[in-house]
């Protein structure tokens, strides 16, 4: 187990360096040198010259590279001219929002996907199974941003025209909190945040949930065929426990590895969904930064995205080892 985790860690570190290197290359592929990114009419050429010297752009490339890596690793991501504050400040404010949104979606994805997958596997080829399979196909062929817009159209706008529609099923169309959030009590604040999370997390998660359901179905079907399921039945274990105790844990093993695979997909979706719902997270940040040609922010955000994926993969691997005794006792 320790050696397994150590090996995974050793794989993650060079990967992070790879990510850093790639971002560095992007910066230098950009037309002109990195100061060109700051080249705006309102910036004095003398300031740019000063920057060049500060960044050591007169130095050889490899020295620039190491200095740049050192600064990134210490959390110095440069300065955003459009927002007039360090990029790390912006990120510190935005990253938690993205993590909350993606985390909620991830929970939703796995809870719903796994539950549906189990039902489909247990009732294979039933009408319900077929309906769910077709439904899943449509759902994961849907662009998340469009689904988000449709959800807003229906559950934030149209339902306000219906008198009979229950108040608690009308959701806000954008933002993290209501404008009068500060006036709420503690319980109301939590409720308000949750209400704001509902539509974006559904828009973000539903297509992955459909795909998890599909994997879960086939994984469960595979497990149900195994000899040890027959053994459990021969022991007199009730069917419910056969599925939920003996089969589920085995069927979940391959699903855990999906956790790491879905995160990049989820983050891609987050870029769009955050834009649709005006959700002030990293996705919204990177899009706005590109519109404003704020390159330091673009590069730092995309680095953080990739770093989060690397870390999530590491967590998924460790989780897998914890659940599978065959790896735990290697």
């Amino acid at each position: 187990m320790t050696s397994y985790v150590a090996r995974r860690l050793l794989q993650a570190v060079p990967l992070l360096f790879g990510v850093l290197t790639l971002v560095f290359i992007f910066m230098h592929v950009a037309p002109g040198d990195p100061t060109a990114l700051y080249m705006r009419p309102d910036v004095d050429p003398a300031v740019l010259e000063q920057m060049r010297r500060n960044w050591g752009l007169d130095q050889p490339l490899y020295i620039q590279y190491f200095r740049w890596i050192a600064s990134f690793l210490t959390g110095d991501f440069g300065f955003s001219l459009t927002q007039n504050r360090p990029v790390s400040d912006i990120l510190l404010e935005r990253v938690p929002n993205t993590l909350i949104l993606s985390g909620t979606s991830l929970l939703l994805i796995f809870a719903i996907g796994i539950a549906i997958g189990i039902v489909q596997a247990v009732r294979q080829y039933s009408t319900m199974d077929n309906v769910l399979t077709v439904g899943a196909l449509f759902i994961y062929s849907m662009p998340s941003f469009w689904l988000g817009l449709m959800l807003i159209l229906i559950f934030a706008y149209k339902v306000h025209q219906l008198d009979w529609w229950p108040e608690f099923l009308k959701f806000p169309a954008s933002g993290v909190t209501s404008t009068n959030y500060d006036l709420f009590g503690a319980g109301q604040k939590l409720g308000d945040r949750i209400r704001h999370l509902v539509l974006p997390s559904i828009a973000l998660g539903v297509s992955s949930a459909a795909s998890v359901a599909r994997y879960m179905r086939s994984s469960m079907l595979e497990v149900i065929r195994q000899d040890y399921i027959r053994t459990a039945r021969a022991k007199g274990v009730p069917e419910r426990s056969v599925i939920l105790k003996h089969a589920l844990k085995n069927a979940l093993l391959p699903i855990i590895t999906l956790l790491g695979l879905y995160l990049p997909f989820l983050f891609s979706g987050a870029v769009l969904v955050e834009y649709v719902f005006s959700w002030p997270g990293m996705g919204r940040t990177i899009v706005d930064a590109i519109y404003q040609r704020d390159y330091p922010t673009v590069m730092a955000t995309s680095f953080i995205f990739a770093a989060l994926v690397v870390v999530a993969n590491l967590i998924a691997d460790i989780l897998y080892a914890l659940v599978d005794p065959r790896i735990r006792y290697e």
Partner: protein, 381 residues
């Protein structure tokens, strides 16, 4: 007296032969191949219908000489011609894969029996035809702004199947022309990424060692970036244009293919026929091209089809954010974005292009799943 019935029989026979040669699909229907017969007949009839109804436009084409119409006209002619040729040739020599068929023939047979996958295939063909015949299927121009006051935000009706947008443009027309961007970007980008991925995966798997390590670390690194983040980061460095979008999509989406191919090659490398080829002293490029690539083609084709659906979704996302083909060229993504502000008054502007995306991606996914089942029964879920 005696040859009368024989003669009339022969006449009837000849008439039938003539009819079968004239009407595509009739021969298939007579032979009992209902499926193939009806498809050919349907295709020919719809093409003829289009050319009759679009007669004015066809005439206008020769004077106006706009590229759009030329492409459409050519498609019309070629499709019509092809239905006849295919009908004639295939009714005479029906391939029977059950008797000594190759691996591909067997896969095709399996695919044909999968009705859902065939539905996807028909949808896919219909989509490509609709795209190419766009100018004949609609009477409006996609980007020309007309009398805004009179035609702004009209709800769906017979004249405007999907309503009109804030500039009074016909949404159906824009969706139809938008399909060109989506489908062509998808097709070219997938071609680039699949070729690149297959080559890199095959080289990496075949040579192993340091080459493999370096290439696979590169793959790991690229895969660590969320696709859309990688794409917009790179596109941000350039001015968005059709070319840039295609190139960036093509050059950033190859890693997953490379991984699949590498895995296949690793298992192939130890098989007898590769060892035999090496023992014969064949050189590496030859072994890779002649022996390895054909054997990984199955999974690659599946990945390509599923990848097409995926790329269409990604491109829609990019153009929704405005990082794809610049306005006023319609793409599904930017039509949705256009309709966003006025969603409450004109829901149709955002809804229909989205549905077009869903249907297209469903079609590609159906075909992809069908191909996977047909090419590799082990993977069936």
């Amino acid at each position: 007296m005696n040859d009368m019935p024989e003669r009339s029989g022969e006449i009837r026979h000849r008439a039938l032969r003539l009819l079968m040669a004239l009407i595509p699909g009739l021969a298939h229907l007579r032979q009992g191949h209902t499926h193939a017969g009806l498809s050919l007949l349907g295709l020919a009839l719809s093409m003829i219908t289009v050319s009759i109804f679009a007669n004015e436009r066809i005439q206008a084409t020769f004077t106006a000489g706009r590229l759009d119409y030329w492409v459409a006209l050519l498609t019309l002619a070629v499709t019509l011609g092809l239905t006849w040729v295919v009908s004639g040739v295939s009714s005479r020599h029906r391939l029977d894969a059950r008797v000594g068929g190759s691996q591909w023939a067997i896969a095709w047979l399996g695919f044909k029996q999968n009705r859902v996958a065939m539905l996807g295939l028909y949808l896919m063909i219909a989509l490509y035809l609709a795209t190419l015949l766009g100018p004949f299927l609609t009477g409006y121009e996609p980007s020309v702004i007309g009398d805004i006051a009179a035609t702004r935000h009209l709800p769906p009706s017979v004249e405007h199947l999907m309503g009109t947008d804030k500039f009074g443009r016909d949404v159906f027309t824009r969706v139809l022309y938008g399909a060109r961007i989506s489908l062509s970007i998808g097709f070219i980008a997938v071609t680039i990424s699949i070729t690149l991925g297959t080559a890199i995966g095959a080289v990496s798997g075949y040579f192993g060692g340091a080459v493999d390590t370096v290439l696979m670390r590169l793959v790991d690194t690229l895969i660590s970036f969320p696709r859309l983040v990688l794409l917009i980061t790179v596109i941000a460095l350039f001015e968005p244009s059709l070319l840039i979008v295609i190139v960036v999509l093509g050059f950033t989406l190859w890693p997953s293919t490379a991984r699949i191919v590498r895995g296949e090659v690793l298992s192939l490398r130890e098989r007898e026929f590769i060892l035999a080829a090496r023992a014969l002293g064949l050189n590496s490029p030859r072994i890779i091209l002649r022996h390895i690539v054909p054997n990984v083609l199955g999974p690659v084709i599946v990945a390509a089809t599923l990848g097409l659906g995926n790329i269409i979704l990604i491109e829609a996302g990019l153009s929704y954010l405005g990082f794809s083909v610049p306005l006023p060229t319609p793409t599904w993504g930017n039509i949705i974005n256009d309709g966003r502000e006025a969603m409450l008054q004109a829901w149709w502007v955002t809804t229909f292009p989205g549905l077009a995306i869903v249907i297209t991606v469903v079609a590609f996914n159906l075909v992809g799943d069908g191909l996977r089942d047909a090419l590799d029964p082990r993977l069936r879920t």
